[in-house]
């Protein structure tokens, strides 16, 4: 059912893009980060540098392209949105008057929010991901000498540290069954893609390439992982099997492609791509 509704949403935009030709979803060119689909793929949220001194989360209808601020009531900086499968929870990084980046988990059904504030005054959280059963939120958290992946409950409590490795460990994303977490780590040098059990055990390395491999996102069916790679000398979106095999370049463009987000139907990826010097959201078909 999800796939059907998602397909309807995409077709309503005006037919699928031709093979290899991405569809440009935004046209303002402003700096953007971290798109994510919501409402079964009918809408898309992303972070944008919307006024000279603010980053905010926008929501966009794929049916008609209309856009609006997701939380217009706040002037605080909001970015890196993650949306629960049922759309009830939105987890984000938030900053206001201090160097700290807080995790905020909004319960849109109850109109409440949970927060997690790192103990270190200047520490921050980035890249939250909500478990498929909407019970935990994982995120990257700055720590002495590096970053570690941690999780909290939906109120922002019950902190659990999932990695204790050297380097930067971040960009975590739950598998569709919630049993595993894919993430980026520089523990062995530069950024590579790793996977671990949801409790932090059984870490396995999936990529071993020259240059950065980062921002991994598990496909809805759990069989593939999309990620950003600089192995060809440029930011490109690659797709590989969930075991790390058969990586291939989806975007193949001289300019930057980054921040892949799977459509719930599993056949398209949204990206933040730079084209002609502009940053916009694009939609790629995935064979």
């Amino acid at each position: 059912m999800i796939c059907c509704r998602a397909a309807i949403a995409v077709v309503a935009m005006g037919a699928l893009a031709a093979a290899g030709e991405p569809r440009r979803l935004t046209h303002d060119g402003r700096l953007k980060l971290a798109p994510v689909f919501m409402r079964d793929g009918q809408e898309l949220a992303y972070s944008v540098h919307d006024v000279p001194n603010r980053v905010t989360v926008m929501r966009m209808s794929l049916a008609d392209g209309t856009q609006s601020r997701m939380f217009p009531e706040t002037e605080q900086h909001l970015f890196d949105a993650a949306v629960s499968r049922d759309g009830r929870y939105v987890a984000m990084a938030r900053s206001s008057g201090s160097p700290q980046l807080h995790l905020v988990i909004k319960d849109t059904a109850q109109n409440t929010e949970g927060t997690y504030n790192p103990i270190e005054a200047r520490a921050g959280i980035r890249c939250p991901s909500i478990s498929p059963d909407s019970t935990r939120v994982i995120f990257g958290q700055s720590a002495p000498g590096g970053q570690q992946i941690a999780s909290v409950d939906m109120k922002g409590g019950d902190l659990k540290l999932l990695t204790r490795a050297a380097g930067i460990n971040t960009h975590p994303h739950y598998s569709s069954d919630g049993r595993e977490i894919v993430f980026s780590s520089s523990r062995d040098g530069d950024f590579e893609i790793y996977v671990m059990q949801a409790d932090g055990s059984n870490v396995r390395r999936l990529t071993d390439s020259p240059g950065m491999d980062a921002h991994p996102r598990w496909s809805p069916d759990g069989r593939r992982i999309a990620f950003t790679s600089r192995r060809d000398g440029n930011y490109e979106i690659y797709v590989m099997n969930a075991d790390g095999s058969n990586p291939w370049n989806l975007t193949k463009h001289a300019e930057r492609d980054d921040f892949a987000a799977w459509h719930p139907g599993g056949k398209q990826l949204a990206t933040i791509s730079e084209r002609s010097g502009d940053y916009d959201v694009y939609l790629f078909d995935v064979p």
């Binding site: 970053q147 971040t170 520089s186 530069d190 950065m212 000398g233 730079e274 002609s276």
Partner: protein, 444 residues
């Protein structure tokens, strides 16, 4: 025409308050260069007819840009891979592939040092060569050029910035004329990501549009009214400034130079539609038009993850995310386009380009996975204007903490820039500026 003068909000004239009058008087410099204020001494011997400073305010991490240390311990090296440049044995961070590819166009100094870890102090020293003395702050390198080599129909010293360069405590003192006086402050211009150029200094009279400035009768009437409101000395200063500003408005050379819409779409795309990218393009246009000294400042309001910390490359927190997501790609695209553009237009030979910030950042990653201020060692790029490209001058130690040889001070940076601009040691001594600075001969 994308040139916008000041911020004219209404077609009707709302008059001019005394406060606004004084503000305008204090903010508009004679660096407009419309009337020579000193004898033009330089010229024939100058290898650099123009200087373009790309000022990376905030202090870029040298380890994550031009001096990576892939063999350093984990707590130093950071998460980025390194890539080979065109200079044998020299690597850059993977965030800068365009600049690595163009490394044959510039040389690199890896032993810059500064004498303060405070932005305002280090920034001022970095742009003047010395700290504040009893008589005030020394002049910006550009102010020295403005005094010695005034342009005739264009501003001599233009600073491209989205607001004053400074931090939460205010602007840095070394941004302008210093002991030379406000007459040698830079002509401030801002440029939006869309390429809209604004000249805040020409916000002379609220509500007076550029079109209405051409209405001589209206202008004179307004000036008469202003004259009645203001005290005479201030008016005299303001009147001269206003005349220069007005002359600039009517200068076809200036209007062309500031008009980015005259560039092809492909050229504007090459620089990227960011405030920094379009500012670099505007800097190239100004150099091409004959402006002797342009300072392109890393645009404020790029890294806005923290609303209170809008200070360019000052990445105390989220250093690696910010550099990978925004700063690295934006710098690489804009600076690559700038070097290519200057080279292809034949401008690089006569234009000295220097790219640097006020300091580097701590090689050892801090307690929140980022990097703090580090004036003990950082990098600068040098190109054109007599600089031999493809060289690396000096080296840092194994972890990028200290120079192994030949520390390059801000005074040395300034002396080298001025020497290549034809402002000799003797002239500098006469002006009592940068007397102790030596020249980086390894670049020449």
């Amino acid at each position: 025409m994308m040139l916008e003068v000041g911020s004219f909000k209404a077609a009707s004239c709302a008059g001019l308050s005394r406060r606004a009058f004084l503000r305008a008087g204090a903010s508009v410099p004679a660096a407009l260069g419309l009337a020579p204020l000193a004898s033009a001494l330089a010229g024939e011997q100058a290898k650099a007819k123009s200087v373009l400073v790309v000022w990376l305010w905030g202090g870029p991490s040298h380890l994550d840009t031009f001096d990576p240390k892939p063999k350093a311990p984990q707590e130093y090296r950071g998460p980025f891979a390194t890539i080979q440049t065109r200079i044998p044995g020299v690597q850059f961070s993977e965030l800068l592939p365009g600049l690595a590819e163009r490394s044959h166009l510039f040389s690199l100094v890896r032993t810059n040092v500064n004498f303060s870890g405070d932005h305002l102090i280090a920034g001022s020293i970095g742009l003047t060569g010395a700290d504040e003395g009893p008589g005030g702050h020394p002049p910006n390198f550009g102010s020295i050029v403005a005094r010695q080599r005034p342009a005739q129909r264009l501003p001599t010293f233009v600073s491209l910035a989205n607001g004053a360069i400074g931090d939460g405590r205010g602007p840095m003192k070394g941004y302008g004329g210093g002991t030379f006086g406000q007459a040698y402050d830079p002509f401030m211009v801002s440029c939006s990501p869309e390429g809209k150029v604004e000249i805040p200094a020409l916000r002379l009279i609220d509500g007076l549009s550029p079109g209405r400035l051409d209405d001589r009768a209206l202008l004179l009437g307004e000036l008469d009214r202003v004259r009645r409101q203001a005290d005479r000395p201030s008016f005299a200063q303001w009147d001269e400034i206003h005349q220069r500003a007005h002359a600039l408005l009517n200068s076809s050379e200036a209007q062309k130079a500031f008009d980015l819409s005259r560039e092809s779409a492909s050229t504007r795309e090459a620089y990227g539609h960011t405030a920094f990218g379009q500012s670099c393009l505007l800097g190239r246009r100004l150099i091409e038009a004959g402006v002797p000294y342009v300072q392109v400042n890393w645009s404020r309001l790029v890294e806005v993850l923290f609303p209170f910390s809008d200070y360019g490359w000052d990445t105390h927190a989220e250093n690696f995310e910010l550099l990978a997501d925004w700063h690295g790609p934006i710098l690489d695209r804009a600076a690559s386009a700038l070097f290519t553009d200057l080279s292809e237009r034949g401008l690089l030979e006569s234009t000295l380009v220097v790219c640097l910030g006020e300091f580097g950042r701590t090689p050892r990653i801090n307690e929140i996975a980022s990097r703090d201020h580090w004036p003990q060692c950082y990098c600068s790029l040098w190109a054109g204007g007599g600089v031999v490209p493809g060289r690396v001058v000096g080296s840092s130690d194994k972890n990028g903490e200290f120079p192994v040889n030949d520390p390059v001070t801000p005074a040395t940076v300034g002396a080298t820039m001025l020497e290549l601009s034809g402002i000799s040691t003797a002239e500098r001594a006469q002006l009592r500026v940068l007397e102790q600075g030596r020249v980086i001969h390894d670049l020449l």
